[in-house]
């Protein structure tokens, strides 16, 4: 009988389990891909939507400004060039297609007869027709104060340093006692461009920098619940920037948070670095360079950002170190980018 009592007692003891109190915060670690995609040279060269304004002055047609003048018929062979420049770093651009629109308003006190043309040339030379990329003729006269616009679609052209526009074969009837007191505004807008290839001179760089006003708002509501017992923030971790670069360009990017003249913090510890692909003798890329840049999200950084009132951002690209005269980027050479968060969250399991 005693064995039975012992047996039941032991069984009960084994069945009972002491509660171990584990009151540590619930920490959840998440790896989550946020965003990804490929950038092509068409994405990086933001030409679309760019506008360029020019003016035709009375001098361009051989008339003085703000004086009463009279003239017999005028025949002007060329007015221009009106250049849409490319960057100095660019050796050439091979364009699959480009769509440019032009707007003109005749503010001269004389009419332009029908039949004048707008010509787009790859160089300033008007003595040859070999550099004409596109030409279109206005079939209607442009009256005083009249407006007109045209749209140019050009395919498969190579542009070197700039595109040059000319107004050619302009005819004006004889006029008496008129005053040229205004210029004629012309606006060119690149509506659409599809690049096939771009060549960049080696050992060149472009740097952009700007300062913008910044207000982080109430960032503390995100990083801190106001609980002093938790030494770290409720959210911390990293944003990992993964790049796979098939373009032969190096780049560097940074955003610095400032409080007036005082540097408070920056997005990247040591700038976002992008290494360029290697090239062959013709400047064509031969490999893909993968790199990881890390943004550390910690409470102190978020606090610093909250205190900032402006951001200085800087961006540079260069072709330094290449031993060929120029490097070539085709539309198939992509820059792959992916941002993955590696976050540590402190969870409240009683709050949904």
């Amino acid at each position: 009988m005693k064995y039975i009592y012992v047996f039941v007692l032991c069984l009960s003891l084994f069945a009972c389990k002491k509660q171990v109190v584990d009151d540590s915060p619930i920490q959840s670690n998440w790896l989550l891909p946020l965003i990804k995609g490929n950038l092509s040279l068409n994405d990086l060269t933001k030409l679309e939507g760019k506008s360029f304004q020019y003016q035709i002055t009375p001098n361009d047609i051989g008339m003085p400004a703000n004086l009463m003048v009279s003239s017999p018929n005028l025949e002007i062979d060329f007015i221009g060039p009106f250049a849409i420049p490319t960057q100095e770093i660019i050796k050439y651009l091979k364009v699959d297609s480009i769509e440019v629109s032009m707007k003109i308003q005749n503010l001269f006190p004389v009419n332009f007869n029908s039949g004048f043309t707008i010509t787009m040339r790859s160089s300033k030379d008007t003595a040859t027709t070999n550099n004409i990329l596109f030409s279109t003729t206005f079939s209607n006269a442009l009256q005083t104060n009249g407006k007109d616009s045209i749209s140019l679609n050009i395919n498969n052209v190579t542009i070197n340093d700039s595109i040059y526009f000319f107004i050619e074969h302009l005819q004006i009837d004889a006029f008496n006692n008129v005053i040229f007191n205004e210029n004629i505004p012309i606006e060119f807008t690149i509506n659409k461009v599809r690049l096939n290839e771009i060549a960049l001179f080696s050992n060149q760089s472009i740097e952009l920098s700007d300062t913008v006003v910044f207000d982080a708002g109430n960032l503390s509501s995100i990083y801190d619940s106001g609980n002093s017992a938790i030494s770290d923030s409720s959210i911390s971790g990293y944003f990992n920037f993964y790049t796979d670069n098939a373009m032969p360009i190096f780049s560097k990017m940074q955003m610095v948070f400032m409080k007036d003249a005082e540097r408070k913090d920056s997005v990247f510890e040591n700038s976002f670095i992008l290494d360029g692909a290697s090239v062959d003798g013709a400047g064509n890329p031969t490999n893909v360079v993968s790199k990881k840049n890390v943004v550390n999200i910690r409470k102190s950084k978020l606090k610093n950002i909250e205190k900032s009132n402006k951001i200085i951002y800087s961006f540079s690209i260069n072709t330094n170190g290449y031993m060929v005269p120029y490097v070539v980027i085709s539309k198939n050479n992509l820059l792959g980018l992916q941002i993955v968060s590696d976050l540590k969250l402190i969870l409240n399991p009683f709050k949904f």
């Binding site: 009988m1 064995y3 069984l11 584990d22 946020l34 590696d342 009683f350």
Partner: protein
Amino acid sequence: MKKLSLLFVGLFCSQILFAQINIASLHNQNADAENSFLNPSMIGNEYKNFKISFLPFYANFGNNFTSAGDVINYVKEFNKKSDSIQVNTSTVNGIMNNLKKTNLIYAGADVTMFNVGFNIHRKRKVFLEFQLSARQHIHANISLPQELFYLFYKGNKYYENQSIDILPKINALQYADYGINVAKNFHLKLNQKTNLIIKPAVRFRYLVGTANVNTQNSKLDFYTAPDGRYIEASLNGQVLQSYISEKTFSNLNTNSISSLITKGAGTGFGVDFGVSAKMNDQISASVSMVDNGSIQFNENAYTISSKYAYRWEGYDWNKNIDSFIIKKDMLNLDSTAGAYKVNIGSKLMISGSYGFGKKASFKRYLNHYHHTVSLFYVQGFQNYLNATKSPMLSVGYSYRLKNILNAGVNASLGGLTRGSLGAHVHFGLGPMQFGFATNSLGYLVSKYNARGVDLQFYSAFNF
């Protein structure tokens, strides 16, 4: 000392073992008619000629991963509505630390519609023992993988570069069975003082399935690539279902309901085996294998399958946002009408008992000791319906006064609820008898050991 050592070794081993059945009832020798459904050789032990039961039932609900105490504590914390991250996390941490590899939630009921046992005598001795029964069963079992909880609790970094199946598995079955059980005693006289009775028994069951759903073979694999470069979810689903779908319910009418009740949606056969040995009415041992059988569902039976993989690498600005939305046709859902077969959850049970104290006799046919200690071991073979792969070891004591009173307690380890304390009581008033049993008394000792609740009631006429 040697015996005590063996006892401790046995108890320790039972900790690493892992079936949910009404174990408390098994310690009640007077509930032989009900217990015979777990061992067919238990019929005929407690009556001379005839026994008829009146709608006895057993219902239970339980799980193997969280206790009543955990749930109470969680609700208390939840009601505080705290916005702070400094909350009492011990409850949640405790639940998570106690999770099993497979976490089960089970609910079920067995209702005996008709149960008659009768003995056939020859030369004033029992020649054959018979039992006719009709029962209704409904069992539902949900298994939740540990990985599902940990994924939300610890985050997917915990499973970096691992593929984990996070799909809960559901199986539910409602069926009726019509059984005939037959047993025969074989008397062996080993020597002048030792009589041995060996009783083999077998129950044949005609099974009528009413409704079923089974997702046992479905998988949802979740994979986090190194450094989180991508996350992939691969669904490989297979759902067997009969009379479960909304469409089926909407098409139900008086005739179809009548047909469902009488003919069922599927039929099958089952068989239970058992054999027991009793020596001098004092020591007994038995082994049984029950719920061996299957049901083939033919009516409104469908196999729904789906295969789909979704890979997330971040929002891709090169793609249209519509490409990230999962549409129904992408899931490759296929519903095929056709018969399928499901089993009913086999279990193995081994038991032993020892009677001591004063020996008594009731109406000359029933000899028993006032005190009995019994031991049961129950083993399921899969986490399915009312079977679990977690073995159960139970020891119990009962005090018996003829057929008037039988009361006892038991303690169990393993099984679905990982341990329980139970009790039973039986009253006999002449030919009429009734009793209760439960395995839910663990709460009285500690709310942290209570992971289920159950109740059995029976009443019968005994001649």
